[in-house]
Amino acid sequence: MRTATQLSGIFVSQVLGKSLPDIVTAVTDEWIEVAPDRVIEALRWLLDSDEFDAAQLSNLTAVDRHTHIEVIYHLQSLDLNHQLVVKTRTHGMDPAVVQSAYPVYKGALLQEREVYDLMGVRFEGHPDLRRLFLWDGFPGHPLRKDFLAMPGRITPGLEGFPFEDKDKPIRPINQENVEAGVAYVVTGETDENRAETDLSEGRG
């Protein structure tokens, strides 16, 4: 759905096609699509053109489409007050590679790190592509649809964390305590002196 200030994709592709033929691979009324290895070329042209003046990368995000990942650029002209939407799709899921928009827009720095972290899109040419929110050893990319396979969108409740190894639990359990069946241990406490401590009262 197009918002009030959004340019028609068909119009954008017509103008863009005059200067850069064959760059647009798909087009609808809402957006244009370009190849993942020609993103910079398209964005730079849109930024430099007087007709579009796409000065700001307003939003950068990605959608998992099962067979590929779609990366979406919402561009904004502050002088002409219009928006335009550029999309690209990765070749396959693993690896999912797209050119980084950072050489054109500095605003892509953190947004691409976020997409890499949560969606697993590798942005080539990004100066500092690291995970943003999750820690470095985190397995997988949580916003992908297959991260937790939930059939029919019903959540049965998880048996454990998806990355948990049952043989090696994440939290080391003090085996001595487990065997003794003691829930709480007070330092210096033994079976003999336990009655002397007030803590033994009301012990669950």
């Binding site: 700001q56 307003s58 939003n59 953190l110």
Partner: protein, 367 residues
Amino acid sequence: MTTSTEPYVLNIGPQHPSTHGVFRLRVVMDGEKIKDLDMIVGYLHRSMEKLAEERTFTQNIPFTDRADYLAAMTGNLGLAIAVERLAGVEVPERAEYLRVIFSELQRIASHAMANGTLISDAGAWQTPLLYMFREREKILDLFEMTCGARLTTNYMRIGGVAFDPPVEFWPALQELVDELPDRIDEYHELLVSNEVFLARTRGVGVISPEDAVNASLTGPVLRGSGIPWDLRKADPYSVYDRMDFDVVVGKSGDVYDRFMVRMSELYQSVKIIKQAISQIPSGAHKTDIPLALRPDEGEIYSRIESPRGEIGFFLVSDGGPFPYRFHLRAPSLINLSLLNELGRDAALSDAIVTLGSLDIVVGEIDR
């Protein structure tokens, strides 16, 4: 004799008053100067976007409270407007005015908080902050009166607002908007003529207009650099096109200008609320929508002006009751895009003030 120094690593946060939440900075220092700086976020990551894919559009509204918890009203409104545009829901006139009133009250509360903590960062510990909290407190009382919550309001609904304010709300609101301009004048007098404050903020953390646009900065940070860009004017939503107000811009793009933009926007917000009070019609405050709203297949990127900048919602619907993809464009995160460049070669004390002037909310950065 010259003194030689060696670089060392300094860790600021995640628990530190000047980081405004659980935000961590890893800084390489050489003496007082910052040589390199790295931000580490994610301590508050709650996987909001993934959780949203298993909840209906209405059930997702409370998440937006917890994203930007200092401006819950505008977060709620952003999502409500996005879903309304996606599903084609009409909103009654009275609800639109109530939305404007509550958004602007929230903006005053949020800007007061932002400026108060900025002054704290600059060294005026607590006293000005508590002055700012005086006004914020009254606004939060009004929120509590209307929807029962002060911080996580969950007030905006798809197709309107949750409740019509009670009768005692209107005199209290009138009293507040009558006294606010005097109070803001008082702050001006107290702070803007303070020489220490000027020395700490003028010419510090300068962002050029070209950089500000290219790095996707929005809100008071962009306007502080002299770009007159406000979505309330540029892409009017709700009934902002009927309101008469000015877009405040700075000149030099330093910390002082960002502070002054927020300060001056308080007057504009009061002006908007006064107009809304005089224009608000009677009638319904909400349209009835189905419990599980099923928008047609499609996608939308819809944005509004939150106190921190452009808060956008990118929603993809596959025709079902849940969003296929739910993305929140967080202005707090994206306004940090230039942090590295701003911090490098600055004194540590200046970098802290600069970070304060960007007005981040970590709940929104991490989501």
